[in-house]
């Protein structure tokens, strides 16, 4: 057996025991994200208050360990932040996966999600890692219209 696996304990723990995978009755923003190449399907729910602060957040759906753990790490990070801060973190995460590296300060900001950095070198799994983040970003930038919700696809961009 190979003893250097990508599937470390942080990742498997988030996958097997996700803290944020549940329904969210108070959600005032909801969006579905699809990864057609894997069949992964995620629902991102946010409860955002009048000041634009994400009070609660959760996700539901099915997918591989990478997509599930990545989404769970994302909610650890964005709950309690403003929409603008959450969007900036999503951009940082997407940049890390796209470019393969961030500055030390930026990596620190991403906390546990920074552990997914190596996905940048696993082209077949990039879409799994970004599914939750991509869905969040589309939702927060308003491209996912809340009045007329359409699923967000990792194939769009």
């Amino acid at each position: 057996m190979n003893n250097r696996t990508f599937y470390n304990e942080v990742l498997t723990e988030h996958n097997l025991h996700p803290a944020h995978k549940h329904e969210l009755e108070d959600a005032n923003m909801t969006c579905e994200g699809l990864n057609p190449s894997c069949g992964d399907d995620i629902w991102v729910h946010l409860d955002v208050d009048d000041n634009g602060i994400i009070q609660k957040g959760a996700f539901e759906g099915d997918g591989c360990a990478i997509s599930q753990a990545s989404a769970d790490m994302m909610f650890d990070l964005i709950i309690g932040k403003t929409k603008a801060e959450a969007l900036r973190l999503a951009d940082l995460f997407l940049k890390m996966i796209k470019e393969g590296h961030l500055s030390d300060e930026e990596m620190e900001e991403l906390e546990e999600a920074a552990s997914l950095q190596d996905i940048a070198h696993m082209p077949a799994r990039v879409k799994c890692a970004v599914l939750g983040w991509h869905t969040l970003k589309e939702m927060l930038t308003g491209e996912a219209d809340q009045a007329n919700p359409q699923p967000v696809s990792t194939e769009d961009k």
Binding site: E13, G39, C64, I66
Partner: protein, 411 residues
């Protein structure tokens, strides 16, 4: 079937990719590796005989034409087609099946009220062309469900056919279940009821002997790249009673006898169906691949692959939480083992296997409706060729046995 006498160590030496690393290549249903002699045959053609076939009146063009037409004869003999004109070269099985759907659909004047019966286990290649045809003509596609063990019987077919069934589209061997269906018996039923049968042979040609005449199918499609030939060459066999009447699929150079501004006379079969400059190098490679398989012996290939399948199933079945899709018996798998592991997504399984230098495929294997029907979102598929080894299967089984632990489960 006796024990295989194939000298695996020796035969593996003929495959450059198998010798460049310690990758256990177990994705043979997607495509197989190519032996050096096939690569050499293609190179030799381009080095010594390359010209545009059919057109030139000089020796080199005649040589290219001969190379291409000899390959056609070789394919006809290999699958026991009555004559070489029944063989149409295409890019792959997908193109072959699209050709049948388009040209036969038009010849039969498929329309409203007509039904096309497609097995639920079909690869998208033998499903979407029929769905397109139905969408364009107002016909209806109906589905022929197999059993959970992958079996499909003549009675199942009879029960699903109606007086309106005009085309039946089935694989000889499903690329997920690995089970061979009784095509000759199906063909008899189809013909008794006035329907034509279109067979996807992409997964059967690499593993079994093919006799389209005995099978009595109307059409039979397969790809070269799954049977040790290069990518980009495929075959459609069709009964000449149909091919001679069907309109072309794609049109262009070589598809015509006469073109004036107000008149077209289509060329004879098979040229009517081979528009534009053809893939002579690919056809030459396919002919060499056929020689390669016949030199090994199709019985030997079958015996060897059954031994490997039997061993792989033994090892995988002994691992808790692992479930093989389809039949229990190795002889009903033809080296194709799609499986799931409780609680672990196939993409994670495949990534972990890749970390262990084992190449398998994850997903729905271009048979998404079958996965919905079986109630599994996707599977991991290990698929074997005669050149695989017991040691590679051991590596697969050892790695599979560790996956749940790696993913954080206690057992």
């Amino acid at each position: 079937m006796g024990q295989s006498t194939i000298d695996v160590k020796a035969v593996r030496k003929e495959f450059p990719v198998l010798n460049q690393s310690d990758l256990a290549y177990l994705d043979n249903s997607a495509t197989v590796q190519k032996p050096q002699r096939v690569l050499d045959a293609v190179t030799h053609y381009y080095q010594t005989e390359n010209a545009n076939p059919f057109r030139g009146l000089y020796d080199l063009s005649v040589a290219a034409t001969d190379a291409y037409e000899n390959a056609r004869q070789k394919v006809a003999d290999f699958i026991h087609a009555p004559k070489k004109q029944d063989i149409i070269f295409t890019r792959n099985a997908s193109e072959s099946l699209n050709l049948v759907a388009y040209s036969m659909g038009r010849y039969l004047k498929i329309g409203k009220g007509d039904e096309i019966l497609v097995s639920i286990a079909e690869h998208h290649s033998n499903m979407l062309p029929w769905r397109m045809l139905a969408e364009q003509t107002g016909a209806t596609v109906r589905y022929l469900n197999c059993h959970k063990d992958g079996s499909l019987t003549v009675d199942d077919l009879k029960a699903a056919m109606t007086p309106n069934t005009r085309i039946v589209a089935v694989a000889e061997i499903s690329n997920v279940l690995g089970r061979a269906w009784p095509i000759a018996d199906f063909a008899k039923v189809c013909h008794e009821q006035g329907a034509v049968i279109v067979v996807d042979g992409a997964q059967s040609v690499p593993h079994t002997k093919i006799d389209v005449t005995a099978m009595d199918c109307d059409f039979f499609a397969f790809s070269g790249h799954k049977m040790y030939a290069p990518m980009g060459i495929g075959v459609l066999y069709g009964k000449s009673e149909w091919l001679n009447k069907m309109p072309p699929f794609m049109t262009g150079g070589e598809t015509i006898d006469i073109v004036t501004t107000d008149r077209i006379v289509w060329a004879e079969v098979p040229h009517r169906f081979e528009a534009g400059t053809v893939n002579v190098g690919g056809a030459v490679g396919l002919a060499e691949a056929i020689d390669f398989m016949e030199d090994l012996g199709l019985d030997q290939i079958e015996a060897r692959e059954l031994e490997l399948t039997t061993y792989a199933m033994e090892r995988l079945k002994a691992i808790p939480h692992v479930h093989i899709i389809g039949a229990d018996e190795p002889e009903n798998h033809h080296g194709i083992l799609a499986f799931s592991i409780d609680g672990v997504h196939p993409h994670d399984i495949t990534t972990i296997l890749s970390e262990n230098k084992i190449a398998v495929r994850a997903g729905h294997h271009c048979a998404e409706p079958l996965h919905h029907y079986l109630g599994v979102p996707s599977t991991t598929r290990a698929s074997l060729s005669f050149y695989n080894t017991r040691e590679e299967i051991d590596r697969l089984a050892d790695a599979v046995g560790q996956i749940r632990k790696e993913m954080g489960y206690d057992e």
